[in-house]
């Protein structure tokens, strides 16, 4: 296999290192954790969307034979008003703690109120029924726009609105209001030849991982706690658990297990402190696995939104001004994802004047969390709609219109960021040059094609890596990034490339928090970028040490040793990496390379685009995807199959978000579709083979040019689907999901208007 570009390993497609364990079922996921004396825990959850807890009587549950411990929010340490930043931005510790176990109020149906552990899971379940909770049911608010109104039921009577960085002192469900402004939007709109404004609503959706949340904990008699869990960040889980339990992180070891999907939803903790406290109380290890309804009712989701977009352009097709109003659900506690939406809403275009007006709103739903390019999908759905309308109004081909306005090197985003070298234009050109785009659009009745363009900024953050050289010339690589998308292999590949090793000679493993330096979460598409960079740097460290060993053996100065193509040499003497590895014992013992990184600049954002062909059943409103292509800038694709897998995965999730996914609450604020039967993610029968086109515009801020590819791909699908549906039936929807009943209602409304117009 040749990789081109002078690379030997990067760009090839080796079998993934964790593949055999996963396809043979031997991989150990969180739920597979087994320890002697293990107890099983269960969590009691509030049936009410909003209630005051008047009393909890656990005596009957405690008396049930087999029950070992019962826990309520009162057992967690009092947190006061501490503000903590544990990987997801600053937050009030009380909010984090109350989300683990409610104390005074329950703020969503599914909010944990108590937990038990018992000798088996059935006894634990029975014990839940014996816990008596007296609630004072309060009026709940589950609609974003209702929650923002004056007089709406208040979730946090002491929460005051932060506006433009100042505390207003006003209590309301509006947690934060902020703006970004660039240039002079008012004047620019006044000068525009065409101005279009539209309003959008998107539903609350779940990340939809298949593996439920789990945690197993052992609180040892010496005060040391070990937690086995499926998490996106073992260090984040350690920090959050330590904060909630008010114990130093040094007392906690988190052992990350294999993870069955996270997509952002396994960054926060839910069960870890409960498992630890139950273990402390019982003196035995305790395992908890969430039920599927609990996963839907109390984890994730990602926010529903209300967005208004106004854009103005000149006759020559240049966008001159843009304005966005973005209100996001934050769920039960403040600190939602509207900030990220603001960074993405106009990020694909070079626009000199703009205003982005953002609102973070609490309401009686579970606390919102990240979901793959959080905030970008909602924003992209709205912006691309208006972009399409502007192009149509100006009579310019929509792809040409995007190319004309494409963000590029030096573009200043409305939120202030100035782009380094970016692949926006290249991604658009890849649409234009693709076989799919050049092929005739489907022309049957009710068939259509749409395109869209989306963005995710990616992050850097801290990573650590150690590399231990074995005497047979293989390398054991330890890193702390929990592996969700095959990152062990793509990190091993970057290490192998640096030292010209065979990729199968580098074994990467994800180790626990006592065994590696602090590594931030697997999120923000950062792992291949940042942990890969740490692997590269640790390989250079190994190289330097190995050169010293060679110098010692050959009795030359170290600067007289060269290393090229995997061979150390000096004059006529040479050793391959493997040969030299056999001489480590005689030159001072093992070689361990190490590196840490915290790249704050150089993170390369990624653009992604779609071409979608659909057919709509005009009688039922059901949309069938006929053909779907995803195009994305990977900077440099380390393992192209994984890059394609990320692109296809994001597309599948984006199509689900577009067509059917939504939280459906009943009038009492309870979630009626907390199962994969009624929370409808696409199945294999709902998707065509998703075609991929990798664009490579190397990121100048990374040794191999990597841009994270995990997220941008989920941004454009709903917009592309909306465009395709519009092309098919002439109605452009402003609401997600575009489920059959919504598509049909929109069609009927449009026909009604047409009939009225025709009838005069």
């Amino acid at each position: 296999m040749s990789a081109g570009n002078g690379y030997k390993v990067i760009g090839t497609r080796p079998v993934r290192h964790d593949g055999v364990d996963k396809v043979t079922g031997r991989a150990v996921y969180g739920g597979d954790t087994r320890l002697s004396g293990l107890l099983y825990g269960q969590v009691l959850r509030s049936p009410h969307a909003h209630a005051r807890i008047k009393s909890i009587d656990i005596s009957k549950a405690q008396a049930l034979p087999g029950v070992k411990a019962v826990l309520t929010g009162a057992d967690l340490p009092k947190t006061g008003d501490t503000i903590v930043d544990l990987g997801e931005g600053p937050a009030r510790l009380k909010y984090m703690s109350d989300n683990v176990l409610a104390t005074d109020k329950t703020l969503y149906s599914g909010h944990p109120v108590a937990a038990v552990c018992a000798s088996n899971v059935h006894i634990a379940e029975e014990a839940l029924d014996l816990i008596e909770v007296e609630y004072e049911v309060l009026e709940a608010v589950l609609n974003l726009r209702e929650a923002m109104k004056e007089g709406a039921p208040q979730l946090h009577p002491d929460m005051t609105t932060q506006e433009f960085g100042e505390d207003t002192g006003r209590t309301s469900n509006l947690a934060t209001h902020f703006q970004h402004k660039l240039g002079d939007p008012d004047t620019a709109f006044a000068s525009a030849d065409v101005v279009i404004e539209r309003e959008f609503n998107t539903a609350t959706v779940h990340q939809g991982y298949i593996e439920p949340h789990n945690a197993t904990a052992m609180w040892n008699a010496d005060g040391q706690i070990t937690i086995w869990t499926s998490t996106q960040g073992s260090f984040a889980a350690r920090a959050q658990t330590g904060a909630v339990l008010d114990i130093p992180v040094s007392k906690i070891k988190v052992v990350p297990q294999e993870i069955g999907g996270g997509f952002g939803g396994k960054i926060p903790i839910y069960l870890e402190p409960i498992a630890a406290m139950l273990s402390k109380a019982s003196g035995q290890p305790v395992k908890l696995i969430m039920t599927r309804p609990a996963v839907f009712e109390s984890t994730g989701p990602t926010p529903g939104s209300h967005i208004k977009i106004k854009m103005g352009a000149n006759k020559d097709g240049k966008i001159v001004a843009a304005e966005a109003y973005i209100a996001f659900e934050s769920g039960a506690y403040p600190g939602g994802l509207v900030g990220a939406a603001a960074m993405c809403v106009f990020s694909c275009y070079d626009i000199a004047n703009g205003l982005i007006d953002c609102y973070d709103v609490v309401l009686n739903k579970p606390r919102s969390f990240a979901y793959r390019a959080p905030g970008s999908t909602q924003a992209c759905f709205a912006t691309e709609h208006v972009v399409e309308l502007l192009a149509a109004e100006l009579g310019i081909d929509p792809l040409e219109f995007r190319l004309k306005n494409s963000a590029t090197t030096g573009t200043r985003r409305i939120d202030g960021v100035v782009y380094p070298k970016m692949g926006c234009k290249e991604v658009l050109e890849a649409i234009r040059d693709s076989e799919h785009y050049k092929s005739a659009a489907p022309s049957g009745p009710n068939q259509g094609r749409g395109i869209s363009l989306g963005y995710w900024f990616n992050v850097g953050l801290q990573s650590a890596c150690t590399a231990s050289v074995n005497n047979d010339g293989t390398v054991s690589l330890s890193e702390g990034s929990t592996d969700i998308g095959g990152s062990r292999t793509s990190i091993a590949m970057q290490f192998a490339e640096t030292l010209s090793l065979d990729v199968d000679d580098v074994r990467a493993q994800v180790v626990d928090t006592d065994s590696i330096g602090h590594t931030d979460v697997t999120g923000g598409s950062r792992v291949t970028y940042a942990t890969g960079w740490a692997a590269y740097k640790s390989a250079l460290d190994v190289q330097a040490q190995m050169c010293e060993r060679a110098a010692q053996l050959w009795e030359v100065e170290v600067d007289q040793v060269a290393f090229e193509e995997g061979v150390f040499s000096s004059g006529d003497k040479s050793y391959t990496f493997k040969e030299l590895s056999g001489h480590l014992d005689e030159t001072g013992g093992p070689v361990i390379g190490r590196a840490t990184v915290n790249p704050d600049s150089g993170v390369g954002g990624s653009f992604a685009a779609n071409i979608a062909d659909v057919e709509v059943d005009p009688d039922t409103g059901k949309v069938q995807v006929l053909r779907f292509t995803v195009i994305q800038d990977a900077g440099k694709a380390i393992h192209p199959s994984y890059v394609e897998g990320q692109m296809q995965g994001g597309s599948a999730q984006g199509i689900g978000w577009a067509l059917n996914e939504e939280y459906y609450y009943n009038k009492d604020g309870q979630l009626d579709n907390s199962s994969y039967l009624d929370y409808r993610i696409p199945t294999s029968l709902d998707l065509p083979m998703i075609e991929t086109i990798i664009v490579e515009v190397p990121n100048p801020g990374h040794p191999f040019g990597v841009r994270g590819v995990g997220e941008a791909n989920i941004a454009p699908p709903p917009a592309a689907m909306a465009g395709a549906i519009a092309d098919a039936i002439g109605v452009r929807l402003q609401e997600l999901p575009m489920k059959p009943s919504n598509v049909l209602a929109a069609t009927q409304a449009s026909e009604g208007q047409a009939a009225l117009a025709a009838g005069g």
Binding site: N660, L677, R680
Partner: protein
Amino acid sequence: MKDFEYCAPKTLREAVALKAEKGEAARVLAGGTDLIVQLRGKRFAPDRVIDIKNIADVNELSYSPRKGLIIGAGVPCWRVYNDAEIAELYPGLIDSAAIIGGIQIQGRATFGGNLCNSSPSADTIPSLMTHSAVCNLIGPNGKRKVPVVDFCTGPGRNVLEPGEILVSLQIPGIKKNTGAHYQRFIPRNEMDIAVVGVSSQVVLANRGKEFKEARIALAAVGPTPIFAAAAGEALAGQAVSDEAIAAAAAAAQSLATPISDMRGPAEFRTHLVGVLVKRTLEGAIARARGKFVANAVQEAAG
């Protein structure tokens, strides 16, 4: 899940005694694809679960032109659709059997269980109704027969008395020039519960140009599956035409009493009744005329 007693009787007599003894606190287990989920979801907490699959009578699957089709209450879907003769004669029933869950579910799930679970959205019940199926029941007071159209009384409720068990479903032999078709609307292409389901059966006369008889039944648009008798009866004697079909669709719509829930708003469901009555009548007519009409699985397989 609460502990329960598990019994696997070998005779109907034993089964009836076991069930009668516990009354409402006993549940019958056939395929278990509903019951086990319900036990885990705490919808029921029975003291006793009676597995009927060891009883010979409930495993009968037979066809004869005189007695028609007998489907024992324990016969899983796959046995029905894998029987070439039955599949040939009753494609309208296979439409239902082939779309209940996936392959694994169809390996266990039964027509009898689907009926006794009495969900308004059950996929087999409308087809059983249009095929004039009759339930053979046995209880402490002996045997009785109840037409499927009279079986369900509410969501999850039916005419079974305490101690009474469904033994089999009996479906009359197929008359000449008969065709039936079931379709459900789901937002995805598989693995969903019907938003609306419709079965239509027609008997044609006058070389396929006229309706002799028609039966239409609806799922998921009322507290029980609905036998839309009036919608079918109005077709008898009429020429096969778009107008007649549209009138039947409208008549069926007027009999639907759907609710709005996570599977769809009420007005959307009423609309879908019209769409599916039309589509299933067209499918039934085509089959009555000897044409092949693919079911959902055949369609997905291309």
